[in-house]
Subunit: 112 residues, 2 copies
């Protein structure tokens, strides 16, 4: 198990499930690609491997983005928000970020 730097771990404000929210943004275009969740190990792996790694709430397991699809996210920046409960990843996205094949998870359903 990869362990998160204690200095970072101390700054996280996790939800009841031990998770923080993670927003992935495309480097260059600035597109918001997707929102997912991380536990401490997912964040540690993301920082160490520079490949975006999340925690799947439905499958209850770690998940390297693009592991099966090839649509990986090379991580360029990792930022923590002011209250410690949200991570912003700036990434180089390979192919589609969304499992539907769309470029981002926000492309298909505009409410306004």
């Amino acid at each position: 198990m990869t362990t998160l730097d204690p200095a970072i771990a101390a700054r996280l404000k996790r939800n009841a499930d031990g998770l923080v929210c993670a927003v992935a943004q495309a480097r260059g275009t600035g597109e918001v690609l997707m929102v997912a969740w991380m536990n401490d190990e997912a964040l540690a792996l993301t920082l160490e491997t520079e490949q975006a790694t999340y925690f799947s709430r439905s499958r209850n397991t770690l998940w390297v983005k693009g592991e099966t699809s090839g649509h990986t996210q090379q991580v360029r920046e990792v930022r923590l928000d002011c209250d410690g409960d949200t991570i912003l990843l700036v990434v180089d996205q390979q192919g589609a970020a969304c499992h539907t094949g769309a470029r981002t998870c926000f492309d298909e359903d505009r409410l306004r």
Copy 2:
């Protein structure tokens, strides 16, 4: 009470607290400004008034962004993600988005 369009309400996948995640992005620059939460009424008010309105989990109440600070968010686009649990708002941000006075909530703590 402002009611959310039932066609939209039917597409939302709320968490156990009845909330969806909301990411605010600056129009033009593409900056990710902040992440907050919305219940159905917050989303309905956001769509109706075009002023970003969130639900405060700590205060357990609706909250019009900038109501006291003047740092309002004029909403230009509202998008729902592929699995219905996250909203993306594209906004014109007045002043600082972060309560610390920073332009965004992600300016101060870079982990990588």
